[in-house]
């Protein structure tokens, strides 16, 4: 017995409807968010529950196997605890002194003047075309990305991860640093000379690298240099680590024109990200 195949008319109608949907969602704004909002209310909690269940199960087995090791470690740690308690008392004094100094000199640590929103990664890229990361933070948490509005995203070491691409009610999509549509104004750390552009590149992405291009003539740059954001692009604050130069590529006349950069952020083990929501212009 063979079941009836779909009629040509149905296929044509659905194809036209999907093309229309694509055009509507490609436009900046409304439809994409509405579809995502509606579906996300059902799917995101299920997804979170599944991930928690997986973590719970794997955590249980890990706990059993690690139990013996932990017993040995407890003894060692108790010895260390006494030592650390003494150090803590000393450090408390140091922290107090640092805070006094910070107030006195008006020092600003990184992101002191920004609202930072922590978030869990729901899923990473799924392949070509489906190459954005979804995080559990959306409009309810104050993210309103879309169109020209975007927010920088960093990891727990304050290294650049990417930027928020679009926001829905409870979740958002993040365009990672390695994505070919991503670009950021950058400079070599410690140098306040000319800036250049760092962007994703399809060929380099396969090696986990991004591309530095538009490098001005005479810019002192070498392999091993740390590249940081320049703060000139408007979205990203200055001084956020992007990565390390791993190779330089020169033109025929010997001038350095591009470089390959290994991101400081470890995308493979990335589980949590931090979105920098707002900045005080006066800083």
């Amino acid at each position: 017995m063979k079941r009836r195949v779909p009629r040509m008319m149905v296929i044509v109608l659905v194809t036209v409807a999907l093309l229309a949907l694509f055009i509507l969602t490609a436009l900046p704004g409304a439809t994409r968010s509405r579809i995502g909002d509606f579906f996300g209310r059902v799917f995101d909690p299920l997804n979170s529950a599944f991930q928690k269940a997986v973590e719970g199960v794997s955590g249980f087995f890990t706990a059993v196997s690690d139990n013996k090791k932990l017993k040995d470690r407890v003894g060692e740690l108790e010895e260390e605890l006494g030592k650390l308690n003494r150090e803590m008392i000393e450090n408390r004094e140091k922290v107090k002194a640092y805070e006094e100094l910070k107030d006195a000199l008006n020092l600003v640590t990184r992101f002191d003047d920004s609202k930072v929103l922590g978030s869990v990664i729901l899923n990473k890229e799924l392949g070509s075309y489906h190459d954005l990361i979804r995080i559990r933070a959306g409009r309810k948490q104050g993210l309103n990305a879309g169109g020209n509005i975007s927010y920088p995203v960093v990891d727990q070491h304050s290294s650049l991860v990417g930027r928020v691409h679009s926001s829905e009610t409870f979740s958002s999509k993040v365009m990672p640093l390695l994505h070919e549509a991503f670009s950021v104004s950058a400079r070599v750390e410690g140098s306040y000379r000319s800036t250049f552009r760092v962007r994703g590149d399809i060929l380099l992405r396969e090696q986990g690298l991004c591309l530095g291009d538009s490098i001005p003539e005479g810019l002192p740059i070498k392999v091993g240099d740390l590249i940081v954001t320049s703060g000139e692009g408007g979205i990203f604050p200055g001084g956020v680590p992007i990565g390390e130069v791993v190779s330089l590529h020169a033109s025929e006349d010997g001038k350095v024109v591009t470089c390959a950069i290994k991101p400081a952020c470890d995308f493979d083990s990335l589980k949590h990200v931090f979105v920098i929501l707002e900045q005080d212009d006066e800083s």
Partner: protein, 191 residues
Amino acid sequence: MNLDATVRRRVAVYLPGLFLSAFLQISVYSSSAFLSPDFLFLFPLMAGLWSGGYDGFATGLAAGFLRDYLAGRGYGMGMLTGMFIGLLAGWLAYDDWRQYALRGGILVVVGTLLYEMTLSFFVWLFPMEELLTPLSSIWRVALARCPAKLLSNIIGALVLTGYLSLAFYRRKSKRENAGKVEDIRGGESLA
């Protein structure tokens, strides 16, 4: 293969199957240490091949939507690709294990290549950036990924076949087991 399961049963199999595929895909793609079958590509393919008819078409749309929601640049193109993958599988559905294995094997290989190339083509056709990457470079990268992807997808297809055969399991009657159907019209047997 099950070409005569009821609609309710098919929905009861496909709906949790699709969600499970999505969750599994999210989990395996988060860890580069494992082979990562593309379950959201394989599910409509195996469903279409298993049941024929509108099943591949419908699950393709649903799986495409899940992909678009999870990591897509917009909605529509993932659904469209999933729908055609499901249709292709549905057209090849046949109620026989040997044919299922043969057609399924070929379809996973050809489908994986087609799917990767089509989505890569969309990357080139609808760029998000001002700088255009040549289609040849995009396809070269997609082709380089294909061997690992093919291996993963073959394993994934086996897993999904297991799921579908369990979910659509039907105990055979004594008559079917005997391999013959009695003539109930009375009189002499026609055999």
